[in-house]
């Protein structure tokens, strides 16, 4: 007895049952887990382990005149109740604040031995920069691979005949699987037909109808824009409000408002899309807007944090409470990650599990509620958002990639369980060949935002009381300082490499080379595929020609015979 839907691995079972987009989602999630884990290994090897090893050894790099905020001692004094430990765990304060989790714990030690020296601040900086570059390279590599799949995937020609004649899987067993497959084919045909009729209708609109349609669209755009502005204002107020007031809920207020906004606005956009009867491909544009919303809401949080850190210009006034602003930023990112994870688990347990029970025990209620669908776009947005938060916070919270690895790992298996037990297949089929590429492009936006934050942090004044860059004017200034400690020839060599005459042409050349390599690999695969098809064609044509020749020779013989008879 062959059982379908048995083993929860990323396999063709998912794409067959649930559509290609779901398989892309799980591949994307697996890619992110691996990326985060490798990043954590990188950071651990170069920053965390040396910090642990050299904590007692080593000397401070530089001393300067004492200033304000030299004292940084966040350890709790006196007895702590267990409840406070729990609060601290969730918000990253107290016993968690002064630990390897956050930037403030690392020292600016430099170890020098006979033939070994290790400069922790320099390692911290370079690891952070390399981490970003490494993530970029991974994303581009995956994107190129996905792009190849897009370029050599099935063409749109012969769409209907492909579906009709090769769409049915003869090996499909079981009544339920057969019905699902039939529904799938039905929906695919309907979607294609609808898109075509919509195009015909759009081309046939009168001028008056066009004016009405466009004004309706503009109005809906204003409504959506207004809602987004409202959401931003709410986030801004919440972030300001949460400063300096105790209570876990107030601490988490920015996260709560962001998550609420992230749930509400895509829902509203869906409703708007229904009003306008968007085609499925336009829904992707709406999904992109939702991505934009999430990332910009993150930007709003960062902006409010920034205004608090710089104290709106009065750094030396006594109102400025933040002694260790990097740890503060790290804590915010940590809270966002944790809250996102808790919300996901809570939704799974409190919403989807009861729905599964309802489905199994009461058919009437289940029919009324409608079976759940696994909606790919919003799940992917959640992943991109989580990864962007991690990238933004990695400079200030070095253990965040590890936390994220664990979070995504648990998410992977819980989503799988949800998928197989609760959800019916989403009838909207997502073309899986373009999905992975689209997800990676969106991830690149998040990476860009995080890079802007990192570059900005490297350029501003680090805290005096904590962290490895304690006595430097900017974080980046450790590089010139260490640079001048190198030997003269090395300095001259590095100067030459870094000079404009060399580096700019090199950079341009490498970008052009990468582009052509990617293009060549894409075309190479296309060429191989076309060659194989040509061979088949040749074979068919040869047979056709042979048949024609046989036919002709037969006719020739018949006519000869007739001519002979007549003679």
């Amino acid at each position: 007895q062959v059982q379908q839907m048995q083993v929860p691995v990323v396999s063709s079972t998912e794409s067959w049952n649930f559509g290609g987009g779901v398989q892309s989602y799980f591949l994307f999630l697996r890619f992110l887990v691996v990326l985060n884990f490798v990043s954590f290994l990188l950071i651990a090897a170069f920053v965390i382990i040396p910090s642990i090893v050299f904590r007692s050894v080593g000397s401070n790099l530089a001393n300067s005149t004492p200033e304000d905020c030299m004292e940084y001692n966040p350890n709790p004094q006196g007895l702590e109740v267990f409840y406070n430990y729990f609060l601290d765990l969730l918000s990253g304060t107290g016993f968690m604040e002064y630990s390897y989790l956050f930037y403030g714990y690392y020292n600016n030690t430099m170890v020098e031995d006979r033939n070994f020296s290790y400069n922790i601040p320099l390692a911290y900086l370079f690891t952070a920069v390399f981490y970003f570059a490494f993530c970029l390279i991974c994303i581009i590599a995956m994107g190129t691979a996905a792009r190849v799949a897009v370029a050599t995937g099935g063409s749109a020609v012969g769409n209907y005949s492909m579906i009709v004649f090769t769409g049915w899987d003869f090996g499909c067993l079981g009544d339920r699987a057969t019905r699902l497959k039939q529904k799938n084919i039905h929906y695919r045909l309907q979607v294609d037909l609808e898109e075509e009729s919509r195009n015909k209708r759009a081309a046939a609109l009168t001028l008056c109808q066009k004016i009405v349609l466009y004004s309706l669209r503009i109005f809906m755009g204003f409504v959506a824009f207004g809602l987004i502005i409202g959401a931003f204002y709410g986030i801004f107020e919440a972030t300001n409000f949460s400063q300096g007031i105790l209570g876990l809920i107030i601490e988490y207020l920015p996260s709560i408002v962001i998550t609420a906004g992230n749930f509400m606005v895509p829902l509203l956009c869906d409703q708007i899309a229904l009003v306008e009867r968007y085609s499925p491909s336009t829904t992707i544009i709406v999904a992109l807007l939702a991505v934009f919303l999430r990332l910009v809401s993150l930007g709003v949080i960062l902006f409010t944090l920034w205004s608090q850190i710089t104290c709106e210009g009065n750094t030396s006034s006594g109102d400025c409470e933040l002694c260790c602003w990097e740890t503060r930023v790290g804590q915010e990112m940590y809270k966002l990650t944790l809250f996102d994870f808790l919300i996901n688990i809570a939704v799974l347990v409190l919403v989807e599990f009861p729905r599964m029970l309802v489905d199994n025990w009461s058919n009437k209620l289940a029919q009324w509620l409608g079976r759940q669908e696994f909606v790919v776009p919003s799940n992917v947005l959640g992943l991109v958002y989580g990864q962007t938060v991690v990238w933004t916070g990695a400079l200030f919270c070095p253990l965040l990639p590890l936390i994220n690895t664990i979070k995504f790992f648990i998410l992977f298996y819980s989503k799988k369980i949800t998928l197989f037990n609760n959800c019916r297949p989403a009838l909207k089929t997502f073309r899986s060949t373009t999905s992975t590429f689209f997800f990676l492009v969106v991830l690149l936006f998040g990476w860009g935002l995080a890079t802007v934050v990192m570059v900005y942090s490297l350029a501003i004044h680090p805290s005096m009381g904590c962290g490895p860059f304690r006595f430097f004017p900017t974080m980046w200034s450790i590089v010139p300082t260490s640079f001048y400690n190198l030997s003269k020839t090395t300095q001259e060599f590095l100067f030459f490499i870094g000079s404009q005459a060399f580096s700019i042409p090199l950079f341009a050349l490498s970008v052009v080379m990468c582009y052509f390599i990617a293009l060549a690999s894409v075309y190479g695969k296309s060429v191989a595929l076309l060659r194989a098809q040509l061979k088949l064609q040749e074979g068919c044509d040869k047979k056709f020609l042979v048949k024609q020749i046989e036919e002709l020779s037969r006719q020739l013989q018949i006519s000869k015979h007739n001519a002979g008879v007549q003679d």
């Binding site: 012969g158 209907y160 899987d169 067993l173 045909l189």
Partner: protein, 192 residues
């Protein structure tokens, strides 16, 4: 199952082949015991173990159509009709072996395309015409498409695949289209 003796002459074993495809001869040779016992399990009282006397045993379509591999397939009746000698779906052992060897993973593409064409050709006129397409579509979607939609899809399919412009698909048109389908081999496959 293992202890019973099945008796066939070497000639009869030779005879179980389809056209000149040696790869399928190999397939039948390798899977013959399993296929024969599956055939026999459908009706043990009808199928003898001793085939030396060329028994003329035909299993009725109802038994074939109740096999787990076929019973949910909307095209099971057409498959049985195409591979049966009498065209009604009543299959001899020969027909049974033909069917599962063509639908196996070892059958070459042109052979599969030929039989797929015959399956989709409901009225057996060597052309897939509009009515054949309509029946195919209804089986594919469980009669849930509206008449308009069925008509539009049929028009589109004939537009796309009909190369000699006679309003219906011949075997050459069909094979020409199948050449461009990357997953035809994996979908036109039944594992037994």
């Amino acid at each position: 199952m293992g202890n019973k003796q099945t008796i066939f002459t070497a000639q009869q074993l030779d005879a179980y082949q389809i056209s000149c495809h040696s790869i399928l001869k190999l397939y039948i040779f390798l899977t013959f015991p399993r296929l024969f016992y599956r055939y026999r399990d459908l009706a043990p009282q009808l199928v003898p173990l001793d085939y030396t006397n060329h028994p003329d045993v035909k299993l009725p379509y109802e038994l074939i159509g109740s096999m787990p591999e076929l019973k949910d397939n909307p095209f099971r009746q057409r498959i049985a009709e195409v591979f049966s000698e009498d065209g009604e779906g009543n299959m001899t052992l020969d027909d049974f072996l033909d069917m599962f060897s063509v639908l196996s993973e070892m059958a070459p593409r042109d052979l599969k395309a030929y039989y797929a064409f015959k399956i989709y050709d409901f009225n057996n006129d060597d052309f897939i015409c509009k009515s054949d397409l309509e029946k195919t579509l209804n089986k594919l979607t469980r009669n849930e498409l509206t008449e308009d939609e069925v008509r539009m899809v049929c028009e589109k399919v004939i537009d796309e695949a009909d190369l000699d412009n006679d309003g219906r698909l011949s075997l050459e048109d069909f094979q020409h289209m199948i050449v461009r389908a990357p997953d035809f081999l994996s979908t036109f496959h039944i594992r037994i």
